[in-house]
Symmetry: none
Subunit: 212 residues, 4 copies
DNA sequence: TGCTAACCGAGACGGTACGTCGGGTCTTAGT
DNA sequence: ACTAAGACCCGACGTACCGTCTCGGTTAGCA
């Protein structure tokens, strides 16, 4: 009979503004209340939105917070400071700065905790946050190769393993420093970290070639 | 946790068995339900204890879980494998093994998340879990010095900084690998990690000395 | 319900079929769900109509159900059985039969309950249902007078009062019997009722005769 | 181990005051809001009680309101006015007065409406309200017999049927008059009603006798 | 035949109340 | 003074309907 309802078309379309408002409200609530006292009702109120609207778009607190936090890490960008070491220090410092913000720390750790029992959530975290930021490592390597600081990586498999290890080392160390050891991830600490990292990788990755 | 009937003594003394039962029940509940679905009522039931009893001894869910999880890490011990590298690999692997258990991962991450907004809880985690296990780093260093693998650290302040950094690196990397990257922290990965670590530290901390 | 294109006329006229479908769907929903679980969304779905269409024509659940139920009572008609007593029994039995239908009972009682706090609704019920059926009492009296069973009523005011009383007695008794006492309003019961009624009225209406 | 927990014994006993407060709050809410806008949350608040306490004792709105309304009718008592006619008028007037109160009308009709789809509720209404008040009819008859106004009823079955009919007639008529016809059930109307009733019953039930 | 206004379906929207669940406290009786 | 049991107040949960509001699309009736 009718043909011009291509797939899902009829009815009032979803408000695009609502998404934005809800994610912002979620971050604000994380700042004020932290994960455990954050309620979806409160988020809805802050966003000027009905609770139902929120549930229509996200399955629950976990999914909502993942999205809200993921946006935070999109701010990260690789500074072009002229040397690999400086580049690393710069981006690690940015990461530490973001993680020092209460909405990032509280939200991220909580969803990671939840994800230990929810594979779908774990996957969502990985794609929305982790994989998404590996771009920084890749960019950094490319830039360093261009500068001649690093030889081109011949083996793609090995390269992937190294990127993963770097990421776990950096992200893990910053998180642990900030949240568990309760120390400041300041410039000095970041310098120590990146020095260990660079030296360690230099001496490891191209094992046979460089006797240093 | 509780005093040993300080002075005033009348009345029935607290059951010592209850403490043990409650902590075990807490871990069991963490395994079955995870942090967020764990309820104190359920823990009490599993422990065969009234909710009242539980609240008389712990302030709430957070404190209870910290204690329950802390016990897990007391299992860690430094194997004497003959070389620093092997020692490190051994203990890191143990750590990864414990962290792979659902009650450890779920519980630990959750209380860390909570601790971002609760200084007292953060302190409790630090003393009950983190500082308590730094013994491993210290033992390892001492043993390595005795073997002649490392020179004695002259500067105590510098030594502390290095221990902290090592701890953040190792613990952070394992946690990130296990929970976020969702990769196995297996022997191969641990070998990569400890190689980077040793090389990095050797080339950094005692700059002039070590040619390796 | 709606005017017949009052003056401004352009545009598509309302579907007449929709009204019919909606009222039928309402009765069907009353049968299946009863008043309290009846939802307008469900009625709309059953009628194959959008919720909007429904709200464009009725103010709410109450008004809709009044109209849906009112139609049921238009089925009533006064049988010509030859005697006043038989006529009364016949019509009362019809009334009882209708009231035994779940859509009538459930819907009618519910709107009456609502009407205790809503004068407009009460008026709507009175005009759409009650007054509309008083025709039966008037017809019955006229027929009885024609037969010579009753003397002509001289005083119009008094006549009105009597009609009202009869109506309250009959309708009230049937409703109470059916819904509250949970007894069947069967032929035997109806015979008892109409005998009491006729006797009582006969001894009463012609007041002046009996000094009491 | 323990034996002296006879059946249901352990734990804090239910507050008796809460029941009273809740029923009173229910009636107050009926007055202010009517049935359909009455919410259990609001009743709980008015009663100074948690919603859970309320749900622990009543299955829902219907059951609660039945109990709340039932208490109202316990106020009814048969006045001893010296004659059967006057006794009837007196008690009918009392009944009408109670029914004129908004909490009675709104609540009673609503639960009757609900009861059309819920046999358990219907039974609860019958026992808690209807049967409970038949005492009035029985008392009235006994008193009239003692006065010699009525001959003793020989047949018990017939007596029951008559009592039921009277009850349906009186209660039904008053309800219909008050709620549907929207007329006042005042002294004059009550006199008309009871006259019809007495006459009708006198001429019917003891067919042969009726001297009057 | 083509305009155009009022209609129609679908479905998202801001709300309100639901009935349930868990947190932590308190009141019993029993050890 | 402890314990188990369980009722208590509180507040959040996720769901269901309410009645309103856009949408895109249809369908008379007048020109």
């Amino acid at each position: 009979m009718q043909s011009s309802t291509p797939a899902g078309r009829a009815g009032r379309p979803r408000s695009a503004a609502a998404d934005t408002a809800i994610l912002a409200a979620t971050r604000a609530a994380l700042v004020d209340l932290g994960w455990s006292k954050l309620t979806l009702g409160d988020v809805a109120t802050r966003a000027g939105v009905a609770k139902t609207t929120l549930y229509r778009r996200w399955a629950g607190k976990n999914e909502l917070v993942v999205d809200a936090v993921a946006e935070l890490f999109d701010e990260l960008e690789l500074p072009d400071s002229g040397s690999l070491a400086a580049d690393i220090e710069g981006v690690v410092l940015q990461f530490a700065t973001i993680l020092a913000r209460p909405e990032a720390a509280s939200g991220l750790m909580a969803v990671v905790a939840e994800s230990t029992r929810d594979a779908a959530l774990r996957e969502r975290i990985r794609t929305s946050i982790v994989e998404r930021q590996k771009r920084l490592v890749l960019e950094g390597r490319a830039r360093a190769e261009a500068r001649g600081e690093l030889p081109p990586e011949p083996d793609a498999g090995q390269a992937g393993r190294t990127v993963d290890l770097i990421f776990d080392l950096v992200a893990g160390a910053v998180v642990h420093r900030t949240l568990v050891s309760a120390g400041a991830a300041d410039e000095e600490w970041v310098r120590d970290l990146s020095r260990v990292l660079l030296t360690g990788l230099a001496g490891t990755v191209q094992e046979p070639a460089a006797p240093r």
